[in-house]
């Protein structure tokens, strides 16, 4: 079984790396959105420092939504999704592998690049640490929640903006607690409590998301 998991994740990652477009675009989107804010608000460094956590988190959230949009659509066009559905292995397991590799390919680069964006928005070291930690614990939850929506809309031809409408309201708790941690970090308070709540949200989502995603996929592929 563990062979299967490793092979599946490796395979998914290989595909993503070879089609660099799919993981580079959300990353570029993330960077550009963050860079637009100083231009829109003005170069007031204190103000930017105050709203930087919100800017970076909202941009990361949007980048995740964009990348999650293509989680299953390509596979469906190529018929790979049907193979997964017909496979004798449990679908939840296969989907979990897919989600892990999706997070590594699309969530992790955001986390790597986020301290750089923090620097240009004048974050302190403690805030940088909080930013990386909240993204590290928060983005998997976003991917897990997004997968359900992505599976539901996979069979709809021009779904475009439907997915963000469906899943963004569900992202609010993660956003609130991540920003809570960032605000605490800006006044040098401990952030462990917030990270624990983010971790709890992650575990809850982890418990029901693969199951609901596989149910949704079976629904999603049948609709046209």
């Amino acid at each position: 079984m563990s062979n299967l998991i490793i092979a599946m994740i490796r395979y998914e990652l290989l595909i993503t790396m070879r089609a660099a477009y799919s993981w580079v675009t959300p990353l570029l989107f993330f960077i550009i959105v963050v860079c637009l804010f100083p231009l829109a608000i003005g170069p007031d460094i204190d103000l930017l420092n105050k709203i930087a956590p919100g800017i970076i988190w909202v941009a990361a959230l949007l980048a995740i939504v964009i990348s999650i949009n293509q989680l299953f659509s390509q596979d469906r066009e190529e018929g790979y999704l049907d193979e997964l559905l017909l496979s004798s292995y449990p679908l939840t397991l296969l989907i979990s592998c897919k989600l892990i590799s999706h997070w590594i390919a699309h969530g992790f680069p955001l986390i790597i690049i986020s301290p750089c964006l923090g620097f240009i928005l004048n974050l302190s070291t403690h805030q940088e640490y909080a930013l990386v930690m909240t993204l590290l614990i928060g983005t998997p939850t976003l991917v897990l929640l997004g997968a359900i929506g992505s599976a539901l809309t996979v069979g709809i031809r021009h779904h475009g903006l439907l997915l963000p409408i469906l899943i963004m309201p569900l992202y609010i708790p993660v956003l609130i607690f991540a920003i809570g941690a960032m605000t605490a970090a800006s006044v040098n308070q401990p952030i462990v409590g917030y990270l624990a709540i983010l971790g709890a949200l992650f575990l809850i989502t982890l418990a029901f998301s693969p199951l609901l995603t596989s149910i949704s996929l079976r629904i999603g592929v049948n609709q046209c």
Partner: protein, 247 residues
């Protein structure tokens, strides 16, 4: 019990007829409660010592907020029935509830704004309760948007059921995180576990209005469901008969 349920309510055809029989009764119960609540709430109940006559919007605001939340809960229960036992009627009830719920949520938000303007001095504040009701509206709209783009009937029902269930799991989490985030709203007027912080002369009209709003929801729901059943079973013999008979 189960056979009675099956016979009277569960098949679309029987549901259509049974609902038709019960509708006038529920409708008149609604009218009675509504008229009592409206008259005693707007004219008989004393004015609030602090908020004056302005508080009377509570008789629309609180019932619509209550009903909006209850409808989402009803939808989630129907979603469970749809996913697990594939009960057709439950799916119809779920889809028909969504837009009613969205309207009640919008009504709660609008009346809340109108109340907030004289009391807080602003139409809108980013307060916990207001925000979570706004998010409830987004959940309703997402559900409606999803159902409106799927053409296949069965996948539409099931996809809607999944998103309603996900929503109901998340709703308490969203609610408490938003409360934690910011709060300014006055404490709940009605609570099951405490003595209500409201005088009886104001309380009874409020309870009547809540009951009236629930009944109104039931009436509209049954009407919409009967309509949806006719549309879904368009090609069957009994619908042709009903349509011919009624026209």
């Amino acid at each position: 019990m189960l056979t009675w349920l099956q016979k009277k309510w569960l098949s679309p055809k029987n549901f259509y007829h049974t609902a038709g029989v019960y509708l006038p009764w529920i409708g008149s119960a609604f009218l009675l409660l509504f008229i009592y609540g409206l008259i005693s709430g707007l004219f008989i109940a004393p004015a609030d010592y602090q908020q004056g006559d302005g508080f009377r919007i509570i008789y629309v605001h609180v019932p619509s907020a209550f009903t909006a939340m209850m409808i989402y809960f009803v939808m989630a229960c129907c979603a469970f029935l749809t996913l697990v036992w594939r009960i057709k009627i439950a799916a119809i009830a779920m889809s028909s509830s969504a837009s009613i719920g969205a309207w009640f949520t919008a009504l709660a938000l609008i009346t809340g704004s109108i109340w907030g303007k004289p009391m807080w001095g602003t139409w809108w504040i980013w307060d916990a309760r207001l925000t979570s009701v706004l998010i409830l509206l987004f959940l309703y709209l997402g559900f409606i948007a999803l159902q409106s783009v799927i053409s296949d009937q069965q996948s539409r029902d099931r996809a809607g059921a999944v998103i309603a269930l996900v929503g109901v799991i998340n709703l308490p989490i969203i609610h408490y995180s938003v409360i934690w985030w910011n709060t300014l709203h006055q404490g709940p007027t009605l609570s099951k576990f405490a003595v209500p912080s409201i005088a009886p002369s104001m309380l009874y009209p409020l309870l009547a209005m809540i009951g009236a709003f629930f009944l109104f929801y039931t009436v509209i729901l049954l009407m919409r469901m009967r309509n949806a059943i006719l549309l879904r079973e368009m090609k069957t013999e009994w619908v042709t008969q009903v349509v011919n008979y009624e026209s």
